[in-house]
Symmetry: C2
Subunit: 196 residues, 2 copies
DNA sequence: CAACCAATAGACCAATTGGTCTATTCCTAT
DNA sequence: ATAGGAATAGACCAATTGGTCTATTGGTTG
């Protein structure tokens, strides 16, 4: 993606999202960051008065919104919930390969290091909750009961998070592509168990 | 855990494991580390000639071995594979609560940041593979077919990794305690699918 | 054109980073 | 007792960290 035409603020956000994802919040210095975004330090502190921390929050938000779009696109043409979830896994596998097979979860890598920064943690939770809800909405759309939709959505989230982590260690997207096998047969259980 | 009686090298390893887990490799300075371990800099470079990187590898190894022990303990008194896996989830939930509900995966937090350091990544994969194999061995012990045991073990690994991440964002071990519901009904599938 | 403010630009700073190096202390084997 | 290496101790270092500050540019209003 060529970002050179974007306004400075967006270049900063994207460079931050990319770098944080691959090296973690503390692993990225402002020098690297500004070089990558081809922006001077003055611009950073103009657009983000609180500096690195503000930028990290913005980067996580942007990356999280991207993820929401990927989820929506995956379920857009789906015939069933499993269908959409499967597409999602494959899309993410492709994304994993395209980004060098080394990056972590954009939200986790960026926000899970600000030791004492409670704001970071709260924001991470919001992002994750947003992803789960997006999946859950599609589950609802396919007729799943409220509670069941929630459970299925969370299940998919957990597998993808875990899968991404293992994929990273293995430098291979294979795990991600194998996820559908794991939730495809998952039970419509608890409240509906009685009927099966 | 009072570590003050341990030899310096072990104090360093444990302090490193603890700090890296909560703040990530780059989030921990040698000053914090040495203060936490109450050791002077000279000792660090005596025991770990390559400094921080060596220490991180040692810390990850130590933490990984601890995890192997937790897995073994969980399956030790188990009647079935699900039984053991369930105990494991609950043990980890308790561990999560005891460690302040904020720490990440000891291996991932420590090793997934050394950008160019291929050694880190390789070591992370070895650790993860070790965990999966340990679970797989118990699955075998309960009579599961080789391929199926492998799949079940990996499934448990993925759920725990994802669950831990979500638990961290939510500052709650609830997710971890709910994991057994998700793999309890998992299919003995693939090679056996034809018969169903 | 002038006034004004958003944005860019980068010099500069104190604090911290990971790491090196020289002393000194401690323990053990002879 | 003493020689010698393991271990401890911390002063010291260059490089980098995140952040501040002043100066300048650019564009949009009046």
């Amino acid at each position: 993606m060529d970002t050179s035409a974007l306004p400075t603020k967006d270049r900063l956000i994207r460079a931050a999202a990319q770098l944080f994802r691959s090296r973690g919040y503390h692993g990225v210095g402002l020098n690297d960051l500004l070089a990558e975004a081809t922006a001077p330090k003055g611009s950073l502190y103009h657009h983000f008065p609180n500096g690195k921390a503000d930028l990290a929050l913005a980067a996580a938000t942007w990356a999280s919104d991207e993820m929401l779009r990927v989820i929506a696109a995956s379920f857009a043409g789906a015939k069933t919930f499993e269908d959409g979830a499967t597409t999602l896994c494959f899309k993410l596998a492709k994304l994993f390969d395209l980004t060098g097979q080394q990056d972590g979860c954009p939200v986790g890598s960026t926000l899970f290091e600000g030791l004492g920064n409670a704001e970071f943690l709260r924001h991470a939770e919001r992002c994750y909750e947003g992803w789960i809800e997006e999946v859950q909405d599609h589950a609802n759309r396919f007729g799943l009961q409220e509670a069941d939709a929630r459970r299925r959505a969370e299940h998919v989230f957990l597998l993808i998070q875990g899968g991404w982590q293992l994929a990273r260690a293995r430098k291979s997207s294979e795990v991600l592509r194998g996820l559908p096998e794991l939730f495809a047969y998952a039970p419509q259980r608890a409240s509906t168990t009685g009927k099966n």
